[in-house]
């Protein structure tokens, strides 16, 4: 049971890190919160040797949580200027005017 808790906590912690790297926003909170709960439970119920592993998972999950919250607060959603797209729009407009002249 205690081992299972650690396995699951590790799995969700890794998933949380992966989701944090991907642009999934607050979705990453789901695995991280689960990892935190499982790591906390295993930390409380484990003997000293396993407490260390649980502690590491707890720390990783807490740091991931901080990164997610930080990204949500400080990183703004921006659309970069896509020169290729802008050029395509200009060319498209020229073509449109030609079509409209023909009507």
């Amino acid at each position: 049971m205690k081992k299972t808790l650690i396995y699951f906590a590790s799995f969700f912690a890794v998933l949380g890190v992966v989701f944090t790297i991907l642009p999934l926003g607050t979705i990453a909170l789901l695995p991280v919160v689960i990892a935190l709960i499982l790591a906390f439970l295993s930390f409380n119920f484990s003997e000293l040797k396993r407490k260390k592993i649980s502690g590491v998972i707890l720390l990783i999950s807490a740091l991931t949580l901080l990164v997610i919250v930080g990204k949500e607060i400080f990183v703004k959603d921006v659309v970069i200027l896509d020169k290729q797209f802008e050029q395509k729009k200009i060319e498209s407009k020229k073509e449109d005017i030609k079509d409209l002249e023909g009507l």
Partner: protein
């Protein structure tokens, strides 16, 4: 996102003779998609208008542009552009264009409406397949999806009682679709830089399986004469999402 999202976004916004659509209006939205129960910001949607002149006449150029936020570009890049050139007073379309790029999948579509609006000459190119050309008949009241949205905004919606609907016919994917816009009531909704606004809450439905559920595809239009679409909620086969107005200028 896909077609349902596009149809909905457009359908959710369109009417007659109440408010005049002006050039140089710019409405910017944040588009979110529901992932595992959480709304995730994925793209910016911009609706704008401008006057375009040819040697013979003036048109109102209506455009709708969707671009993923930079953090998504490496995973699923979207660059969609929908345009309609319309007669400024009646919003009758002359030319409609669609250019979509969604995660590598492309569609380029052009419809030229005949002056009597009874036929459309279309050109469609999907990915690298050969371009297909087709001339097809439509009802004289049919519009493209963009001009329909703007037309909806020109309606006097205050005369509609809850449960009453307005009907439209749009042309999309070389087919005609009936679209019904039903009045649900009024609600106060946050409208970006406009603050909190009193809005008409309306439900959009169409004879297509691209929109799911009853009263699950909703639009909130400000109840003032400008009829700004401030919030859109959609439900399509692949999920649900929303468009929230961030900034409105030139209104």
């Amino acid at each position: 996102m896909g077609k349902g999202f596009i149809i909905l976004s457009f359908l959710l916004i369109a009417n007659l003779g109440f408010s005049q659509i002006k050039p140089n209006e710019r409405l910017v939205y944040a588009a979110s998609y529901n992932m595992s129960g959480l709304m995730t910001h994925i793209a910016q949607v911009t609706m704008q208008t401008e006057t375009v002149k040819t040697t013979k006449k003036s048109y109102l150029h209506l455009s709708w542009e969707a671009a993923t936020f930079s953090k998504w570009d490496s995973f699923f890049k979207i660059r969609d552009l929908y345009e309609s050139y319309v007669e400024p007073n009646t919003l009758k379309p002359s030319l409609y264009k669609r250019s979509t790029f969604e995660g590598g999948f492309t569609i380029a579509e052009k419809y030229i409406f005949s002056p009597d609006n009874k036929t459309i000459s279309s050109c469609v190119k999907v990915n690298k397949r050969p371009e297909t050309k087709k001339i097809f008949s439509v009802g004289s009241g049919s519009q493209d999806i963009i001009s329909m949205i703007y037309k909806l905004r020109t309606f006097d919606l205050s005369v509609l009682k809850p449960g009453q609907s307005k009907l439209f016919v749009i042309v999309f994917d070389q087919k005609e679709y009936s679209v019904s816009v039903k009045m649900l009531g009024r609600e106060k909704v946050s409208a970006g830089n406009l603050g909190k606004k009193d809005c008409f809450k309306m439900s959009i439905s169409a004879n297509t399986n691209k929109l799911k559920g009853t009263d699950k595809n909703l639009i909130w239009l400000t109840s003032d004469t400008k009829r700004i679409p401030v919030l859109v909620r959609f439900s399509i086969p692949v999920g649900t999402g929303q468009l929230v107005l961030s900034t409105a200028s030139g209104i």
